[in-house]
């Protein structure tokens, strides 16, 4: 049993899940916004990165990790809401490339402003958890206190979002505003506010993700720290289906595990290539995602 737990394949699965939950969170953040406003938020990673900088650069080193995390989440909420009110609201009903262009421009502005204020140097966050793997019979298990903390945080965030959407009146209004805005407006739902709230939630999920990514000793916090993570998160969301939160979560974890095996058995340069190949194949076979019920485009 103990040799099984320290074996190469189990190590790959565990490491894959640790990476995969991060992709799942990014994918979830994208899905939350896509479902309600039909906008793919290319600035998702950059918005989250700014929230993390606000939490950790403004307050550090005087305050604790958890207070900084809370500030980052609050900043995420504010940034998300402000983005929806100021930039996104102008884009509803425009040709579908306009939001893409606007969000890419916003991404560029955010990354440049962050680099102008906080420089491009990587900044380590003092995590309360060790990144050294646990030992079993003097062999490392591919799981450290920090990795476990990542997974647990991700599960908590997903549960909170799922609970909010499934079991509360607010969640019902959010879903109604996303699925049938006209009808829900007639029934008294403030659709505009719900859309803003959707962006705030998405941005807060992003802030948690960015804190986790930046807490990792190897990446640290840089203005472009979220670029690569965003690419994988988008691939997960597109494979799972941008309309399906469950699909996003599952495909994020599956992607993490598969890519961990690719990196271990093939070559670390092949990881993003395999991910791109999976994206291309899945989009050709099921353009709307693996987990969405195939829906014809409305004309």
């Amino acid at each position: 049993m103990s040799s099984f737990l320290t074996s190469r394949n189990v190590a790959d699965v565990l490491g894959g899940i640790t990476n995969g939950v991060i992709y799942s969170l990014v994918a979830l953040s994208l899905v939350l916004v896509w479902r309600s406003t039909r906008i793919l938020n290319f600035a998702q990673g950059a918005m989250a990165m700014i929230a993390t900088y606000i939490g950790f650069a403004v307050l550090a080193p005087t305050t604790s990790y958890w207070i900084s995390m809370a500030v980052a989440i609050l900043s995420g909420l504010v940034i998300g809401g402000a983005t929806e009110r100021v930039i996104v609201r102008v884009l509803y009903g425009k040709p579908e490339i306009n939001p893409v262009v606007a969000m890419v421009g916003f991404l560029l502005v955010l990354e440049s402003v962050a680099a102008a204020i906080w420089s491009t140097a990587s900044r380590g966050l003092a995590t309360p958890f060790s990144m050294v793997d646990w030992q079993l019979n003097h062999k490392p298990v591919a799981m450290s206190p920090f990795a476990l903390y990542e997974i647990i945080t991700a599960v908590v965030v997903m549960s909170v979002i799922a609970g909010l959407f499934q079991f509360t009146k607010l969640g019902l209004r959010l879903r109604a505003a996303a699925l049938a805005p006209e009808v829900s407006r007639l029934l008294g739902v403030r659709v505009g506010r719900m859309l803003t709230l959707g962006w705030m939630l998405s941005s807060a999920v992003g802030a948690v993700t960015a804190v986790l990514v930046a807490s990792n000793y190897f990446t640290g916090l840089t203005p472009t720290a979220m670029d690569g993570v965003f690419a994988f998160g988008f691939i997960a969301a597109a494979i799972g289906g941008l309309d399906s939160p469950v699909g996003a979560l599952l495909s994020g974890i599956a992607l993490g595990v598969i890519l961990q095996f690719v990196g271990d058995y093939l070559n670390s340069n092949a990881i993003i290539l395999v991910a791109l190949g999976m994206l291309i194949v899945s989009l050709m076979v099921r353009p709307n995602g693996v987990f969405t019920r195939s829906a014809q485009r409305r004309v």
């Binding site: 793919l40 606007a102 916003f106 560029l108 402003v113 670029d227 597109a238 290539l273 791109l276």
Partner: protein, 397 residues
């Protein structure tokens, strides 16, 4: 010259041409330089004369487009003789960039798609040129550039296949993933591409002997070794412009604009959507590869870090600010790119920012990103669209 009859126009044109030749001979010291300037001014006057006739523009659209391209190339090449070497270099970089922008403009203007991977497609062309030139240093550069275009088209086809079934944001996300993955691709084939450090060209590109022999005279020669590459880039950009103008106006181009405006209607009149989308994507990838190949020639080297995601975003901002989906927009974008660094350096110097500081080094991104957001929110047609509307309003008065 509206209202002037055609024979009068010919007379006026001939007179202008003779005057230009005389001015060249009197104004320039040596016989060879005078010959060169005379040829240039005769071409200029001929093109302008032909283009001034609206009848000609209507009846011979292809020839008119050729004349416009020739005129632009002619003026640019003459100007390179007067600019400093730095400005020439900027112009060449910008001319190559405007080829890339033409490609992206076609993709968006004709099929309503957007690509965030054109920086990586440039990289495909750039590395094709560098790798080929390192293995076969004697190949003529025209052949090498055609190889770059072919390589770009092949990669474009590969990535364009799913594009047949994708709409706006999905395609943008996929091309984003490609531009993030491009560095890893280069590393995977590190033995060919030189890994992180990139490649040097084995020899600098030099002008052929006969060109040097003909023009190497006096002080203000039109073509010496230093401006040879600049001239090649400008001529290539002119050819690319000519093809693109014809493509925009062709049956394919018109079909694609219908795809952009209403893809359901396009399908109903028998246009194959997948085919139209893949063609647009391949054209845009080939144009990007051509621009990248020219960059390799101009810099005499290629580094992978140039062709990252940031370049793709820059390309997108240039094409949107210039005027997305239009040919003038692409040319304006290329000009902006050529001189943006100078303008920002001037700005830094005059505002007293520390040129090595954080803010100054990020000004480029802040300005381009901000302009990109503002343009798409408040003037989605860009500079070209703005000018066209002003001009139309002025004509209507």
């Amino acid at each position: 010259m509206r209202g002037v009859r055609s024979n009068q126009r010919v007379v006026a044109g001939t007179a202008l041409g003779v005057a230009a030749v005389l001015a060249s001979i009197l104004g320039v010291g040596t016989a060879r330089a005078a010959t060169a300037f005379s040829i240039a001014s005769v071409v200029l006057v001929a093109c302008a004369t032909v283009l001034s006739s609206s009848e000609f523009r209507r009846n011979h659209p292809v020839a008119a487009r050729a004349a416009i391209s020739l005129l632009a190339v002619d003026v640019s090449i003459v100007l390179t003789a007067f600019f400093s070497a730095t400005v020439d270099d900027n112009l060449a970089i910008g001319a190559a960039m405007s080829i890339v922008l033409l490609g992206l403009s076609f993709l968006t203007g004709s099929s309503g798609q957007i690509s965030l991977g054109n920086g990586a497609f440039m990289g495909v062309g750039a590395f094709t040129v560098a790798v080929w030139a390192n293995h076969h240093p004697t190949t003529p550069i025209a052949v090498v550039l055609i190889l770059a275009v072919v390589a770009g088209a092949l990669v474009g086809l590969l990535l364009g296949l799913p594009a047949t079934r994708l709409r706006g944001p999905y395609l943008a996300g996929m091309t984003l993933a490609f531009s993030v993955a491009f560095g890893a691709v280069l590393n995977l084939f590190g033995t060919w591409t030189g890994g992180d450090s990139g490649l040097q060209l084995p020899t600098a590109v030099n002008a052929p002997a006969w060109v040097l022999h003909f023009f190497k005279a006096g002080t203000s020669s039109l073509t010496t070794n230093s401006v040879w590459l600049v001239d090649i880039t400008i001529v290539t950009a002119g050819i690319a412009l000519f093809f693109m103008a014809n493509l925009f106006a062709s049956r394919t181009g018109r079909a694609m604009r219908l795809v952009r405006d209403n893809d359901v209607a396009a399908e109903l009149v028998g246009i194959s959507l997948p085919r139209a989308r893949v063609i647009a994507f391949i054209v845009s990838a080939s144009y990007a590869a051509l621009g990248g190949g020219l960059w390799t020639l101009i810099n005499n080297a290629v580094t992978p870090s140039t062709y990252g995601f940031a370049l793709s975003v820059t390309i997108l901002s240039l094409v949107v600010i210039g005027g997305i989906g239009t040919i003038p927009g692409a040319l304006i974008g290329g000009l902006i790119y050529a001189f943006a660094a100078n303008v920002i350096a001037w700005f830094t110097a005059h505002t007293g920012l520390n040129p090595q500081g954080n803010v100054a080094s990020q000004l480029n991104g802040i300005i381009f990103g901000g302009l990109l957001v503002l343009t798409i929110l408040f003037a989605p047609t860009g500079i070209a669209g703005f000018v066209r509307r002003r001009f139309a309003a002025w004509r209507a008065r």
